[in-house]
């Protein structure tokens, strides 16, 4: 799982490190599929991702689009809110949920359908991950996190859904320096913190 949306909240230092490490056959879960070489783009360029679960691959995901056209990567396209809830189901120890979203569309293909509360619904399953790479603004030394503006987006959800969560942060402060009422992601969900100056990729 890799956080970020609209150029904000991407753990770009961690993605670059994973690109250098060269891990292959990755299943990626992310809202989009990179902005040219930036964000997840470098991972598609290097052919490190074999399957991706995304809501909106994006107009500048040229490396993904090339791999997709060449059938070197497969895609599961998921409605964005359902992507969130499937990760949250994994985080919450739930085995799935029914939703009206996607009924009668391509998204419903192969999914169990039933009528609940007089509405057609489809069954959606949780999305688990071994790792979440997320971006936050500030961590304390225990791993409590705060975010900045709309750079929060998918990061708190992914933090909860993965077995191991690695947070890239702008600054690390002593335990107690973040007021308990201001913690957005509690430290129980965070397993590694990496301090690095954030990288942003322009359109």
């Amino acid at each position: 799982m890799v956080g970020g949306f609209g150029g904000a909240g991407f753990p770009n230092n961690l993605i670059q490190a994973l690109a250098r490490k060269g891990a292959k056959n990755i299943t990626a879960v992310s809202n989009n599929c990179g902005t040219r070489d930036g964000e997840l783009g470098i991972m598609f360029k290097n052919n490190q991702i074999k399957h991706v679960i995304a809501a909106f691959p994006g107009p500048h995901a040229n490396h993904f689009l090339e791999r997709f056209a060449a059938k070197e990567v497969t895609l599961e396209l998921v409605p964005q809110g359902i992507l969130c809830e499937r990760m949250r189901a994994a985080a919450a120890g739930l085995q799935g949920f029914y939703t009206t979203v996607g009924v009668g569309t391509e998204v419903a293909a192969g999914k169990e359908e039933r009528v609940l509360e007089e509405r057609r619904c489809i069954l959606e399953r949780p999305i688990h991950a071994d790792y979440a790479l997320i971006k936050a603004q500030t961590a304390d030394e225990l791993g409590n996190l705060t975010y900045r503006l709309a750079a929060r987006n998918f990061n708190p959800i992914m933090a909860m859904a993965a077995q191991t969560t690695i947070a890239e942060v702008e600054e690390i402060v002593p335990i107690g320096a973040i007021h308990p009422e201001h913690v957005v992601t509690p430290a129980i969900f965070v397993h590694r913190i990496v301090q690095a100056k954030g990288i942003r990729y322009a359109e």
Binding site: Q80, G81, T100, F154
Partner: protein, 248 residues
Amino acid sequence: MPSDGIPRIGMPRNGISEKVMPAGGIAKPRLTREQIAQRAALELPDGAYVNLGWGIPNLIAGHLPKGITVYFHSENGILGMGPRAKPGEEDFDLVDAMKVPVTLIPGASFFHQADAHVMTRGGHLDVAVLGGFQVSEKGDLANWRIPGAKGPGGIGGAMDIAAGAKTLIVCMEHSTKDGAPKIVKRCTYPLTALECVDTIVTDLAVIDVKPEGLLLREVAPCWSAEEVQALTGAPLIVRRQIPEMSFA
């Protein structure tokens, strides 16, 4: 011309784009995209929580009538978006769903993407306005992929928004570039959601989707109900003399 340089309806007719009507070969003025947005802006009640989609809907924020406050929602976790940030004042951690740097209005809040879609899917937004490729006579919406287009397309938040908004307005051109109707009996493009659209605002008409069918509410200046029907792929219910669109 208003200070923002955008022509408004009600101004001289030369503010309206001239396009050739594909069916009859008669030139007739149609609304511009900005004018569609201007008309759709009047559908937003004061104090409403509103999500605007890509394309024409995104232009609506620039056309709110004076004295109306609307709390714009963005699916990346913002409620209470203000205007686009001025050049030099952009903060790229504060962007809307189209990656455009924005500002906040008093009372704004941040939250994560799951809560943003609790608001869309859970029926908490008063109005959502989306773009459309096709709308059926039952209010089915297709707006995320054109068949035959390169690549896999992208759903984004559209399915959650369409499934959950209390009122869903679609803003689009009445016909495709090739002149085919975009309001049809049955959608042939990949669907976004079934029976979700409440109102369609096009460059030719305002149409409400009712259980009995498509109710023509207003026509663009210079257009008749019969002319709009001729460019529509499903029957329109015409209950009375149809007024021209009002823009204030």
